[in-house]
Symmetry: C2
Subunit: 145 residues, 2 copies
């Protein structure tokens, strides 16, 4: 596979386009017993490819995992044409009212019946350091976020 | 989140059903610089939830990653109802004619023009040790594979 055939600017633009069109991305963390872990998640807010916010519940395994290692990868792909992107970075677990307000939507009430101040509602803020985009034909590019 | 409300047998059966219906699963590995890594992949053959085979190319980053750590997780989910499964295990990288024949399909020729004996074609065999299934409502169960 030939690497870095797409310029940094183009790779970042294409990753952003994929991210913007994705209802679901995949957040991988360092799990327990030396295994990685991952799950499908819907970003509730994004700023470019740099920062992604997610909601989660306090009892989630990822909250424990992120307490041990904040290193994470966000992955997304287009099932239509199998292009894909990765964002490497770290995740902060936020537990303040402002962050909860930032991610709150009424659709969350199913899981957080007490609403925006539900004590089980936590916020994950993923901050990217770098990223990559790969097209279906294998052409790829990396970028700093 | 309440854990283990689904029996082992039922959790394994439901994970197998999700896996059997999945065109795409997500394979997470221990990547570089302490980050996990992951990608969408199509299993080319499965035996229950125990063993999954994938094809890959010799130049793939996952081949390097698996040489450093064979620990991996296979994740799948239903976009329709957000139920999900995980299989924890390890991956062997196979480079023999029999394994290549096991995974070969003409659709691979796009990436491996020399066919079943293309020297870039490698086979990943994932062997599960344990797994989990979680329904949309958060009810979950674990099982030994």
């Amino acid at each position: 596979m030939k690497e870095h055939e797409i310029s940094r600017e183009d790779a970042m633009a294409k990753a952003l386009k994929l991210l913007s069109g994705a209802k679901t991305v995949f957040l991988a963390t360092n799990g327990s017993h030396g295994h990685p872990n991952l799950r499908a998640m819907a970003p509730v807010k994004t700023e470019g490819v740099n920062t992604l916010w997610f909601s989660t519940s306090r009892g989630s395994s990822k909250v424990d995992e992120l307490a041990h290692s904040d290193k994470a990868v966000v992955y997304g792909y287009s099932p239509r044409n199998m292009s894909e992107f990765r964002l490497w970075g770290s995740v902060e677990v936020l537990d303040d009212a402002g962050s909860r307000e930032l991610v709150w939507a009424e659709a969350l009430r199913e899981h957080f019946p007490e609403g925006v101040n539900d004590p089980n509602l936590l916020v994950l803020r993923f901050s990217a350091v770098s990223g990559m985009y790969m097209a279906k034909d294998g052409k790829s590019g990396v970028f700093e976020a």
